[in-house]
Symmetry: C2
């Protein structure tokens, strides 16, 4: 099995280096990315939505040009293990999810996905072998239309940079005139 331009072994080494471990979720994410790529028209520009913060963003960042910091990868956490590639101008996209209803032939994946076994009781190698053996059979693909507020490619951020009167730091202006930290969303005590 190949994932992106990598052999499985090369991909495992890449995610060990980037993600810190050969997490099953990143391998699943890699297969999701590959499956989506085969189901999109070639040569267009796509943005990515990950619906889970667990593992999936790292598969996307290792295998595509989309990263958290360049704006092409958005994390919209719905709790579902799914991702979407969408045309960055029209919002038309393809979504893939790991489908619990297709897991009965794959008990290791099912135990892992539905948290039926403690992590320490799982056999990681057996789980990885099942993920590879399952190939693309355990996913569901569906067309989606992304909401306008998440289609940002043609919307240049024209907000002025202003200085917050409370913290005296620069930020893109808000209706309240305060930065979001001083407006109550700050992460510090």
């Amino acid at each position: 099995m190949n994932i992106g331009n990598y052999t499985l072994e090369e991909f495992l080494e890449r995610i060990r280096s980037f993600h810190g471990s050969t997490a099953p979720g990143v391998i699943i994410g890699g297969i999701m990315v590959d499956t989506l790529k085969k189901n999109l028209p070639p040569g267009e520009f796509f943005d990515v939505i990950c619906e889970s913060a667990h593992c999936l963003p790292d598969a996307v960042q290792v295998l595509t040009p989309c990263t958290t910091g360049n704006g092409w990868l958005k994390l919209i956490d719905t709790g579902r293990f799914a991702m979407t590639f969408f045309n960055k101008y029209t919002g038309e996209g393809a979504r893939i999810s790991l489908d619990h209803s297709k897991l009965s032939p794959f008990p290791e994946i099912r135990n892992w996905y539905l948290r039926l076994k403690d992590k320490h009781d799982q056999d990681l190698n057996a789980l990885i072998r099942e993920i590879v053996r399952a190939g693309s059979s355990i996913y569901t693909l569906a067309p989606v239309q992304v909401k306008p507020e998440h289609i940002t490619a043609h919307k240049k951020d024209k907000r002025r940079i202003v200085i917050c009167p409370s913290c005296n730091e620069a930020f893109p202006e808000t209706p309240s005139g305060l930065c979001d930290a001083c407006g109550g969303k700050g992460p510090y005590v």
Copy 2:
């Protein structure tokens, strides 16, 4: 100038490969990471908060073990160009921000940061030279205490995985019983 274990040229090549371009914000982010590392006790485990989605997460992901998908990098978008390294168990941290009040000797950085010039009128090479010349002189460091809700290292996610009665997908259980997408936060029409 070195950034992390890279020479400047090597770092520029790394961010060209990962981020897609030698964006000034990622170079600034790299200097922020280096400056924070020098101001923390060695050998401890730190999580990272980025306060801006622009560029900073990619500097962190290139230079540290913390990524969006492994849970050690959190994006808490306050609009401010700042990041924090914090002890993942106690929440004690050090925050660094690009300080607009220190930019008068560096007009290219000031024009870029405060969006005083159109991007196309900026001289990228001159801007990068100024960022290098400024070194760590344009930042402000401060100790911070991260709010308990963002200190997650010792909190294992013990939520059961359940099936959403609306979309029939698996997700970590919520008080409403619906996944967050069916609860109204879904990104699709």
